[in-house]
C-alpha cells in the first residue's frame, strides 16, 4: 500500500513525467516463477526440486501443492487430467495419457491406457480419485483395508483396519473426498443390512481421515438405505464441494440424495428435482449421480429411449436443478442392455460433456448447446473397463509416513 502513496505523491499538477513504482523486484520474478511452476506437470515439478534449495522447499510445500491442484483442476488445457480405468471387471487399473493429447489427437485408434499402475493388484475396487489421490480396495488381500495411491509421485498408504458387521445380505458402499476447510482427505464406509429391524439398524457409517492418528469414527445418524445397484460393486460416493453423495431410499421407498459433509461428518438430505417422480422407479429408471463442471448431476433413463441429465447449479439448492440435456439413445450409440452407460465423466470449458458409452472403450463428446456429437473409440487392449477422471497432483497419500513403491513412477512411458 505504500506504493500507492508514492504514486500519489509523484503526481502533482506541475509534474509531467510520472512512473509507476519500479523496479524489477525479486518478488515479481518470484511471483512469476511460481505462476509458471503451477502450470507444469508433476513430473517436471519433481525434476525442478533439484534446481536449488529454496525451490526444493517451496515446490514441496503444502501451499504450492494446493495451488498446483487448483490450477490443474480448473485449467482448460487438460494436461493433468487422465482417465483411470479398470476395477469393475477383474482387471488391474490403468491410467491414460493426459486427456489433452487424447482429445486433440485425431489418430483414429489411439491407445487409451499407457501402463498398468501395478502388476500386483487385481480386482481392485476403485472408490474414487480426488486431487490426484486414488482410493481403492484390494479385495484379494482383505476388504478391510482401504488403500491410497498417488500414481504421479509413486507414494501410497493404507487405512487402519475397518471393522464392520458382515451378515448374509449386507453390502458395503464407500466414498472418498476432500475436506477443504481442514485440508484433509476422508473415506466414508457405509455398511447396509437390509434385514435390520429399524432404519437405524440398517446402516452403519464410519469415517476415516487420511493420516490422522485416530481410526475409523462412527457417524451418529444415517437413517437411510443406499440404493443397491444389483451389480458386483455398489456405487461409490460422488464427491462435490466438500460432500459425498449417494442415492438412497427413504422409508417410504422414495428416492433422495444423502450427502455426507466431510467438514463436520454430518449427513443431510438433498432433494432431487421436484419435477421428477422419484416415488416410482418405473418412471425414473436407472437413476445415477455424477459430477459435471463442479456441480452435482442426476441422470436417469426416460421411457427406455432417452438419457436425461439434470444439473444442480447451486449445491444444496433444490430450485437450482435444471435439465442439462435429454438425448435419444440412438444419438449416443449405446446398447441399452448394458445398464451402466452412458457415464458422464467431465465437462470441458467449451461446454462439451465427455461420456463413456461402452465398457469396450467408446467415448462421446456431446455439446448440449450446439447439440453436436463427436465419437471416440480407444484401443483398450483386451480388457473391459470403466473409467473415472483422475488429475495428477503432488498430494501425499500419507502426510506423515509416505511409502514409495519401487519402480512405479514409470507409468508415464507407454509400453
Amino acid at each position: 500500500m505504500s506504493t500507492r502513496k508514492r504514486q500519489r505523491s509523484i503526481i502533482k499538477p506541475s509534474c509531467q513525467n510520472v512512473a509507476p513504482p519500479s523496479v524489477l523486484s525479486p518478488l515479481l520474478v518470484e511471483e512469476l516463477t511460481v505462476n509458471i511452476m503451477s502450470r507444469l506437470p508433476v513430473k517436471s515439478i519433481n525434476r525442478f526440486t533439484s534446481v536449488a534449495k529454496q525451490w526444493n522447499t517451496f515446490l514441496s510445500s503444502s501451499y504450492f501443492i494446493r495451488y498446483h491442484i487448483q490450477r490443474s483442476a480448473t485449467s482448460s488445457c487438460l494436461n493433468n487430467h487422465r482417465l483411470l480405468g479398470g476395477g469393475s471387471y477383474g482387471s488391474s487399473f490403468r491410467l491414460s495419457d493426459p486427456l489433452l493429447s487424447i482429445i486433440d489427437n485425431p489418430s483414429p485408434y489411439p491407445t487409451l491406457f499407457g501402463r498398468l499402475l501395478s502388476d500386483i493388484w487385481h480386482d481392485p475396487l476403485i472408490v474414487g480419485s480426488c486431487n490426484g489421490l486414488i482410493c481403492w480396495i484390494d479385495y484379494r488381500e482383505s476388504g478391510n483395508y482401504i488403500c491410497y495411491l498417488n500414481p504421479a509421485t509413486g507414494t501410497k498408504s493404507r487405512s487402519p483396519y475397518l471393522r464392520y458387521p458382515s451378515s448374509f445380505n449386507s453390502y458395503n458402499l464407500f466414498g472418498f473426498g476432500y475436506d477443504h476447510i481442514n485440508d484433509s482427505y476422508k473415506t466414508v464406509a457405509i455398511n447396509c443390512d437390509p434385514n435390520g429391524d429399524t432404519v437405524d439398524e440398517k446402516t452403519l457409517v464410519k469415517v476415516y481421515e487420511l493420516g490422522a492418528p485416530t481410526t475409523w469414527k462412527k457417524i451418529q445418524s444415517f437413517p437411510y438405505v443406499p440404493k443397491q445397484s444389483g451389480f458386483l460393486d455398489e456405487p461409490c460416493g460422488v464427491f462435490v464441494k466438500g460432500t459425498l453423495n449417494w442415492l438412497c431410499t427413504r422409508s417410504n421407498d422414495s428416492l433422495v440424495v444423502v450427502s455426507v459433509d466431510l467438514v463436520n461428518d454430518t449427513c443431510k438430505e438433498v432433494s432431487l428435482p421436484r419435477f421428477v417422480d422419484t416415488n416410482r422407479y418405473r418412471v425414473v429408471a436407472r437413476p445415477n449421480l455424477s459430477v459435471l463442471g463442479g456441480c452435482l448431476c442426476f441422470s436417469y433413463e426416460n421411457r427406455q429411449t432417452h438419457f436425461v441429465l439434470w444439473q444442480m447449479k447451486v449445491y444444496g439448492d433444490a430450485s437450482s436443478w435444471n435439465v442439462l440435456f435429454n438425448i435419444p439413445y440412438k444419438d449416443i450409440r449405446i446398447d441399452r442392455n448394458i445398464p451402466n452407460y452412458p457415464k458422464p465423466l467431465l465437462m470441458l470449458n467449451n461446454g462439451d460433456v465427455m461420456m463413456q458409452t461402452s465398457e469396450l472403450g467408446d467415448f462421446l463428446l456431446y455439446n448440449p448447446m450446439h447439440n453436436s456429437f463427436k465419437y471416440f473409440e480407444f484401443a483398450s487392449g483386451t480388457t473391459l473397463f470403466e473409467s473415472i477422471v483422475h488429475i495428477d497432483s503432488l498430494v501425499s497419500p500419507c502426510p506423515t509416513r509416505p511409502h514409495r513403491i519401487r519402480g512405479l513412477p514409470c507409468l508415464y512411458t507407454i509400453t
Binding site: 520474478v29 513430473k43 514409470c410
Partner: protein
C-alpha cells in the same frame, strides 16, 4: 473512468526504458493495471515512464491488446499461438517480466503458459540458467535429491 474525464482523442504517452515514446488510447493503457492509477490523474501532457519495459516489449504488448479483440472468438487461440510463435526464449523471458510488471490483462496467463510449455521437458541446468538461479546444493545433496526423483529425469530434452 479516466476516459470519461478526458476527450476521446486524448492519448496516453508511455516512455520506455530505451527512451521511445508510444502514444496509446486510454482503452489500451487501462489494460495495463499497474499504470491505471496514473492514467486517472494524467492529462495530455503527461508522460508515463516505464523503467522496466523496453520498446520491443511495449510494441508486442500493444500488438496483443489491439489484435486480440479484433480476432473472432474462434480465432483467439490461433492469434495467441501466432503471437508467441517467433519469440526466442530470451525474448519470452523479457516479455514475461514486462507483462508481469505492467499486469497486462490476459497476457500474463498466455506468457506463463508459453514459458511453462518451453521449460516442461527441459533439464535442471536449463531452468537454472533461464531463471538465473544459483545452485546452492552441495554435490551430495543434489545427487540425493536427483536420486529421490530419478524417474522425473527420463525423457528430458537436450538443452
Amino acid at each position: 473512468m479516466a476516459e470519461k474525464a478526458s476527450p476521446s482523442s486524448n492519448s496516453i504517452s508511455l516512455k520506455t526504458v530505451d527512451g521511445k515514446i508510444f502514444k496509446v488510447s486510454p482503452a489500451i493503457a487501462n489494460q495495463m493495471l499497474t499504470i491505471q492509477p496514473l492514467i486517472k490523474d494524467s492529462d495530455s501532457s503527461t508522460i508515463i515512464s516505464l523503467p522496466d519495459v523496453a520498446a520491443f516489449h511495449l510494441t508486442k504488448i500493444i500488438e496483443y491488446l489491439e489484435g486480440k479483440p479484433a480476432a473472432a472468438p474462434s480465432a483467439v487461440d490461433a492469434f495467441e499461438a501466432q503471437f508467441v510463435k517467433d519469440l526466442s526464449p530470451e525474448e519470452l523471458k523479457g516479455l514475461l517480466i514486462a507483462v508481469g510488471y505492467l499486469k497486462v490483462n490476459g497476457l500474463v496467463d498466455l506468457m506463463a503458459n508459453t514459458v511453462a510449455k518451453l521449460i516442461e521437458n527441459k533439464s535442471v541446468e536449463y531452468v537454472r540458467k533461464f531463471f538465473g538461479v544459483v545452485n546452492d546444493f552441495t554435490p551430495a545433496e543434489e545427487a540425493k535429491c536427483r536420486q529421490e526423483h530419478a524417474w522425473a529425469f527420463d525423457g528430458v530434452d537436450e538443452d
